[in-house]
Subunit: 467 residues, 2 copies
C-alpha cells in the first residue's frame, strides 16, 4: 500500500522513533527547574537545539522550538512585524506561500497593515524583480518559501535574500518543504520549519531568528524558549526532531538523486499514458520527491478515491477535496488547470512506508493504475471522448450558451467541451458557471485545446472556437 | 531518588507511554487528508477527543486539543474576549492564577482592556463574593483556577460559576492541577488542561468551550481543530494524553486517599521537626498530593540544592530560584512568608519514579533529611539561633537602623532578627532593604515572631519590638 503524500506528512523516521522513545524516560521534566530531572531535561533540550541549529545553519541561541511549523510562521511573522513596527507596516509575501503565511498576512491586513503579494509564473516561481518591486520604504518583512509545497518549484531565495538585505528588510524563509534536503542558502534573516515534514514527530516546529533582526514576540509573554514560544517544551519530540533531521540530511543526497529520477519518469510518462493531462511546476528547479499534474474532465476527489481504492495515497489541490470548495491558491496563482489535480510526493527513504516494494516498483505500479483510474472517473462524469470521435454536423447558427450553473468542477468544462464543435470556427460559446474552479479551468482548457478565452463577467464565461 | 515535583511535570504514565508508542505507527499522517493514512489518523483523533471529553465532562465537539496548557489558556482567554467584545473589555482573574493567565491578562491590559484581580486570603483562596464584586456590566470573561498550583488550595469554582452564570459572564476554569483527580464540578463555560500534569506527554493541552459561549479564535485563521488551535495535530501524543487521563482517573480515588494521608503527615511533622516554618495553603480543601512550606532565615535556592544533593527533587516559589528574582506571585498574593519556600508534590501512583521505596517511605526519609538541610543553610547564612540563646544586654537607646541594601532574601530578615533584641520592647528597628522579597518576608516574620510591622516607605521597613 504505497504512500505518496510525503509533502503532507512523512511517517516517523526510524531514528526519530528511537530517539523519541529513548527520551521519554529522561525528557519529561520541566527544564526550567533546578533539580536533577529538570537539569537532565535541560541538557537534552540544549543538545537538540545545537543539532537543529547546525542543520539549519544558524547559532543555537538563534533557534527556538515551536509546537508546529504553522506556529513558527505565525510567531515569526507577528514578531518581525511588531519588532519593525516603527519602520512601517508593509508585509511582502509570494502568492504561493503556505496558507499559514497567507492567513498571517490576512490577519495583518485586518489589523490595519498592508500586504503585497508577489505573483508567480506558470511554473509557480516568483522573480527576484517581483520582490524588488514590492519592497517599499515601509516594508517591515518579506516572506518567501524555499520551495512550493504543492508543485515542488524552488524559489530564488538567494537572490531575493540579497535584494531584501540590500533594502534593509528581513526575509523570513518558510523552509518546511526543503529542510529535509539541505540547508537554505543565502543571507536569510529568519527561517521556519516543521519536523513532521522531514520524518520527525508531529508537535515540533522550529523558528530561527538571526541576531540583529528586530523581533518582538507576540503576547502573551512566556518565559519558555527565550520568550518566543509559549508553553511547556515537548522535549522527547524535540530530541526526536533534531536527531531525525541530522539522520535525514545524512541520507539526503542519495535519496534526492534516486527520487529525482523516479519523479522525472512520472513527469514524462503521465502525459504519454493519460490524455489531456497538464504536468505543473518547474521540471528542473524543483524538490526531488514531488510532482503535480491535473487531468482535464476529472473530479479531483473522485480520482483521489479511485487511487485510494487501488492502494495509492495521494493528495489533490482540486476543489471539493477540502472543506473550502475552492481550488488550491497555488494552482490559481499559477493560472494552471485545477481539475483532476493530483500531487505525488515520495517519502525519502527506501520504499514507500507500508510497501514491500521499492519506490521504483511502487511508482511503476502507479503508472499502470493511473490511466484506468482517470478513464473511470471521466466515464462516470460523461466527459467527452478523445478529439477523434465523430462530431455532429455544425449548424449554421454561430453562438451558443451552456448553462452549468449549480454544477461543480469539472462539469462546466465538460459541458463546454461537449458543445465546442457545435459552433463554427469563430463562433462563441457562453458558459454560465458559478463554481469557483471555472475561473481557472475554463481558461486552462482553452489553452490546452487551442481555443480562445474571451474572458468572464460574473458567472458568464465566453470562449471563441478557434480549432 | 524520589521526585517530589509532580506539580511541575509528572513522568509519563505507563498507559501514556504504551499508547504513544502504539500510535506512532498509525497517527503520523494528516487527518485532513482523504486517503487511508489520513482517515486512520482522523479516527485516532476522534476517538481521543471522545475519551478526553468524557473525562472533562463536555461534548466531543466542545473540546479541542492545543499544543500545551499555556496555549489552551492563551487561546481560550483571547477567544472569549474577542467573542464578547461587544459586551465590553473587562477581564476578571484571581491574583493566584497560573502565570499563563496573568500574562494573557497583562496582554489584554496592554491592548486597551481592563483587568480586575480578585484577592485571596492567607490560604490562597478567593471568595465568591470577591468575584461577585468584580463582575461588571462590561465584564467579558472571568477566569478561576480549580486549585492552586503552588499551594494546592482548592477554589470555590461551583459558587463562582453560579455567580458568573447569573451575571451572564462566561467562566474559564484553569483545571491544569486538578484534572488528574476528577472533573471540575459546576456550571463552567470553558476549561483548560495540560496533559503532562496528569502523566500524559508534553505537547498536549486541551480547551473546552461549551456550546453557546461566544468565541472568536485569535488570528491567524487555521482550519485545524475547528479553527481553534493552529498547526498540525500531534496525534500520537493526543492519543496518549486521552488514554492516560482515563487511566489516571480510574486510579484517582485510591491515589488521592493515600497521598492525602502522606501530605497530612508532612503538614503535621514539618513544623515539629524544623523550627520557624510556616506551612501555607488550605489544610483541608486542597489538592491531595501537594504541600508548600516556607522556612525563616533560609535561601530557597540553597535549600533546594541541599535537598537535591540529598536525592530529593522539589521546587520553590522563593525568589532566586527562577530568573525573575521576585518571589512567587502566589505567595505574595497570600501575604505569607516567601523565604526558604519548598513545594513537595507527589506523583499519583505507587512509589515516586526512580525510587525503589514506596511514597510513604520516601516521605519519611525526606522528613529525616529536611531538618538537617534547613539547619545547614541557616548556618551558612549566619541565621540567628533559636530564641532561647543568650542575648546581649539591651542598651538604653531605643531605635536602630540595619542596612541590608544590596542583600538578597533571606538576608534582610536575618539581619532584622539578629538585632531585634538590641532595642527595648517598644523600640523601633528600621531595615533598609531593596530586595523584592523583603516586602513579603519582613511582615511575615513579624507575624511569626509577634513583632509589630509598622509599614514600609520605599526601601525602608519599620518594625516595633513587642516581644
Amino acid at each position: 500500500m504505497p504512500y505518496f503524500d510525503a509533502a503532507s506528512s512523512v511517517p516517523l523516521h526510524p531514528v526519530a522513533r528511537q530517539a523519541l522513545v529513548a527520551a521519554l524516560d529522561e525528557g519529561w521534566a520541566d527544564p526550567a527547574r533546578l533539580h536533577r530531572e529538570g537539569r537532565r531535561a535541560r541538557m537534552l533540550l540544549d543538545a537538540a537545539r545545537e543539532t537543529a541549529a547546525e542543520a539549519v545553519g544558524c547559532r543555537p541561541d538563534e533557534l527556538v522550538f515551536t509546537p508546529s511549523g504553522a506556529r513558527a510562521l505565525h510567531i515569526g511573522i507577528a514578531g518581525a512585524l511588531a519588532g519593525r513596527r516603527r519602520v512601517g507596516r508593509g508585509l511582502v509575501v509570494s502568492a504561493v506561500e503556505h496558507s499559514a503565511v497567507l492567513h498571517a498576512a490576512a490577519a495583518h491586513l485586518d489589523a490595519g497593515g498592508t500586504v503585497s503579494e508577489v505573483a508567480v509564473d506558470r511554473s509557480g516561481r516568483v522573480t527576484p524583480s517581483g520582490y524588488e518591486a514590492a519592497l517599499e520604504e515601509d516594508t517591515a518583512l518579506a516572506c518567501l518559501q524555499s520551495a512550493n509545497h504543492e508543485v515542488g518549484t524552488e524559489q530564488p531565495v538567494t537572490e531575493v535574500a540579497r535584494l531584501c538585505a540590500g533594502a534593509g528588510v528581513p526575509l523570513l524563509v518558510d523552509a518546511a518543504q526543503s529542510l529535509a534536503w539541505g540547508p537554505v542558502e543565502g543571507d536569510w534573516s529568519m527561517l521556519a520549519g516543521s519536523a513532521h515534514k522531514w520524518g520527525g514527530p508531529a508537535g515540533v516546529g522550529l523558528l530561527a531568528v538571526r541576531k540583529g533582526v528586530r523581533f518582538a514576540p507576540p503576547p502573551p509573554a512566556d518565559e519558555r524558549e527565550s520568550g518566543r514560544s509559549a508553553g511547556f517544551e515537548n522535549i522527547p519530540a524535540i530530541v526526536a526532531a533534531a536527531a531525525s533531521l541530522r539522520a535525514v540530511r545524512a541520507e539526503a543526497d542519495a535519496a534526492a538523486a534516486r527520487l529525482r529520477a523516479v519523479i522525472d519518469r512520472v513527469r514524462a510518462r503521465v502525459p504519454e499514458l493519460v490524455p489531456d493531462v497538464e504536468v505543473v511546476g518547474d521540471p528542473v528547479r524543483r524538490l526531488p520527491h514531488l510532482v503535480t499534474f491535473s487531468c482535464l474532465y476529472v473530479d479531483g476527489e473522485a480520482l483521489l478515491h479511485a487511487l485510494d481504492r487501488a492502494g495509492f495515497s495521494v493528495s489533490s489541490g482540486s476543489s471539493c477535496t477540502s472543506s473550502t470548495l475552492t481550488p488550491s491558491h497555488v494552482l490559481r496563482a499559477m493560472g494552471v488547470l485545477s481539475e483532476g489535480n493530483i500531487r505525488v510526493s515520495l517519502t525519502p527513504g527506501a520504499g514507500a512506508p507500508g510497501s514491500a516494494a521499492s519506490v521504483e516498483e511502487d511508482v511503476e505500479h502507479f503508472l499502470t493504475v493511473l490511466p484506468e483510474a482517470v478513464r473511470g472517473v471521466r466515464e462516470q462524469l460523461g466527459a467527452p471522448r478523445a478529439p477523434g470521435e465523430p462530431r455532429r454536423p455544425v449548424p449554421p447558427s454561430a453562438d451558443l450558451t451552456v448553462d452549468a450553473l449549480g454544477t461543480l468542477c469539472p462539469v462546466p468544462v465538460i459541458e463546454l467541451a461537449k458543445v465546442i464543435h457545435e459552433v463554427p470556427v469563430g463562433g462563441v460559446i457562453t458558459v454560465l458557471a458559478d463554481d469557483e474552479a471555472a475561473r481557472l479551468d475554463i481558461p486552462a482548457w482553452c489553452e490546452m485545446r487551442g481555443q480562445e478565452y474571451l474572458g468572464a463577467e460574473g458567472t458568464s464565461f465566453r470562449v471563441r472556437r478557434r480549432a
